[in-house]
């Protein structure tokens, strides 16, 4: 996994993945890629708080140099996307990252997060009294 900047082509691929994820689940997805110089979780949460609508947002933070990965979900997203489901997506990303496929891992992870975050419509069965 290269520690340098993402190329324009890679950015376009991740942008497309984010766009399709947002269309699928109607939540906002953001990726921050950079060096983490403090507590990773606290830093990721502060990045997430800086988003336009944090409650409806999913933040993925990657530090390729320190090999750190953080996923933060907003309070509203959490209702549909559980932490266990986030861990599953993270596992897929970690596997791809370990193989040196950062872009593939991001695409897959974003797609998995979106799939799990799709709000399930509650089916209110009409009670037809007999």
């Amino acid at each position: 996994m290269a520690a340098g900047e993402l190329s324009a082509r890679d950015r376009a691929v991740v942008d497309r993945a984010i766009r399709s994820a947002e269309q699928a689940c109607r939540y906002e997805f953001s990726l921050f890629r950079g060096a983490v110089d403090r507590d990773p979780r606290a830093f990721a949460v502060s990045l997430h708080a800086a988003l336009a609508a944090p409650e409806r947002s999913v933040l993925i933070m990657v530090d390729p140099r320190a090999r750190l990965l953080e996923i933060v979900t907003g309070s509203e997203v959490r209702r549909h996307l559980t932490d266990v489901e986030v861990e599953l997506a993270m596992l897929a990303m970690q596997t791809a990252f370990a193989e040196g496929d950062e872009i593939g891992g991001l695409r897959r992870g974003i797609s998995m997060l979106a799939e799990h975050a799709i709000p399930h419509e509650t089916l209110h069965a009409k009670h037809h009294g007999l």
Partner: protein, 138 residues
């Protein structure tokens, strides 16, 4: 128009033309024979370099082992050190770091997020602290 469909006969008898191997062997032999005159010629041509010192010239000064050592080892090392310092000192003064490409500093990149600088990051509010997610490394 008739075509000769009979298989070509292969003769095992030696032909008049010399084979490629024989030609190569002859070339090698010629090369070996030429080597001696070439070396001898070179030595003869270089002989004037070993001639006696002309009479008008002053006798060469004796160079001590220490001077020779300084000239061949110490001064090149000093020169090397000076050039190295000239390269590294300005970078160190500017606060730069010497890192390999693999461990090069990672530029902050936002995709689908705000263009917030690190210094502009605010403390999360109590509402935003109710976040979920996961942490990991690889």
């Amino acid at each position: 128009m008739s075509h000769d469909t009979s298989p070509r006969s292969i003769s095992l008898e030696p032909t008049a033309r010399p084979s490629r191997t024989a030609l190569l062997a002859a070339a090698r032999r010629a090369q070996r024979l030429c080597l001696l005159p070439v070396v001898a010629g070179a030595l003869l041509l270089a002989a004037p370099a070993m001639a006696d010192r002309p009479q008008g010239w002053e006798p060469a000064e004796e160079v001590s082992f220490m001077d020779l050592h300084m000239l061949i080892v110490v001064w090149p090392l000093v020169l090397f050190a000076i050039i190295t310092l000239l390269f590294y000192v300005p970078v160190l003064i500017r606060g730069g770091k010497f890192t390999s490409q693999a461990s090069a500093a990672v530029e902050d990149q936002w995709l689908g997020g705000p263009r917030t600088e690190r210094g502009e990051l605010a403390e999360p509010s109590p509402e935003t602290k109710q976040t979920g997610g996961a942490s990991g490394s690889w």
